[in-house]
């Protein structure tokens, strides 16, 4: 895992603990909506927590194609590198 990936994982871990503490351990391969059961508002709250930690804006169009936190982490890499 490179530095960018580590930074993203750390931000996601922190964001999940801040916005969804009830989830406990972060499962990167669980589907955000069908497995974890998040609704669109909860997903948006989580994204804003991640944005604050990475000082990055995540376009919501990117979320439409994102199923899991692992997906999200992968999609954030180019965004963070070009930021």
């Amino acid at each position: 895992m490179n530095t960018t990936q580590q930074k993203i994982r750390a931000a996601i871990d922190e964001a999940v603990h801040a916005s969804l503490p009830e989830l406990g351990e972060v499962d990167y391969n669980a589907a955000l909506t069908s497995d974890i059961g998040l609704d669109s508002v909860q997903v948006m709250d989580l994204v804003m927590e991640i944005e604050d930690r990475l000082d990055l804006s995540i376009p919501i169009e990117l979320l439409a194609e994102t199923q899991t936190l692992a997906d999200l982490a992968t999609r954030l890499e180019p965004l963070l590198e070009s930021n």
Partner: protein
Amino acid sequence: MSLFEKFNDLAQSRAGLGDQHVAPVATPIEKVFSATEGQINGQRTILAGTNNYLGLTFNQEVLSAAHAALDEYGSGTTGSRMANGSYHAHQKLEQELADAWGWPAAMVFSTGYQANLATISTLAGKQDYLLLDSDSHASIYDGAKLGQAQTIVFRHNDPANLDRRLTRLGDDAKRALIVVEGLYSMLGDQPPLEAFIEIKRKHGAWLLLDEAHSFGVFGEHGLGLAEARHCMDGIDFVVGTFSKSLAGIGGFCVSPHAELDLLRLAARPYIFTASPSPAVIASTRAALNQVIHGQALRDSLWRNIEQLYSALNQMGYKLGSEQPGPVAAIILPDRESALAHWYGLLEAGVYANLMIPPATPKGLNLLRISLSAAHSPAQVDQMIDAFGRLQAAA
């Protein structure tokens, strides 16, 4: 595998609301006696969840205008504004809206939903950016989805958070359209509008203000929050609806930018739909006149707001907004207590709105009251008594 399988969660959620004889969502209203009274489940009931802020649905001038237009122009236009659906009255209404703001451009749409869909999806194009408050109405999110702009969400009512996102855009912020609402319909809270305008100016961005729930309620002429806060010159586009204070159905956009008119050539939700019926346009024109000259109505509405907010605060209810307004959102600890409150109020002869996730921000369970200028002090007392009895029974 069925096409309907994907709705299983929704069906389960609806089933979780119970199978009582009166449904708390999409509640059938059997009769409507006035702007504030109807019949639900055979019982005469105060309507306290209808967004009928100025109570104009039974106003005699509004009704007479609709009746006359129905007789003179028929039941519908049967066509788009771009084809056969632009009657003189549609254009007159647009002129009257533009005149009300003192701005050069106004467009009328067939619903308030379409007004947001059309303006947001068309104003912000492929190379542009949309910055949406996270608590935005579905029509704003859907407008973003229909368009091709890159969409970024900022924290609800947080100008510093918006500032950071615009700063990241650098020079591109000049092609960013910020969207905020004058009154958020779920919690009834208002935005820090002046701070948003300051940030918009700092970055050279554009600002669209959705006054769906604030039009008619705020300002000397009822034009909305921007008028009340004396900052209309900081707004680029105001979107509004006819289906609340204007007591009809439809929507509008007004702007100090004359180029708004170009949207008629490009906005799909404007072009590819039938225009509002003549009766709706006529009733809206009559209602607009009542709104602009409706300070007495606003005085009655605000008297009711003060009465209800003050009582609910005294009873210790947690409300969605500290600033009193026409929407009082009572935050309840869970779905069961929200449901119990909803049925308790209905039994006491008061209809309110049950609002539950995912329609609500932060997963809140709400009982939402919308007040009207037409509510009498006695009706507001009845609402307060009903809450008092519920609290005593808990």
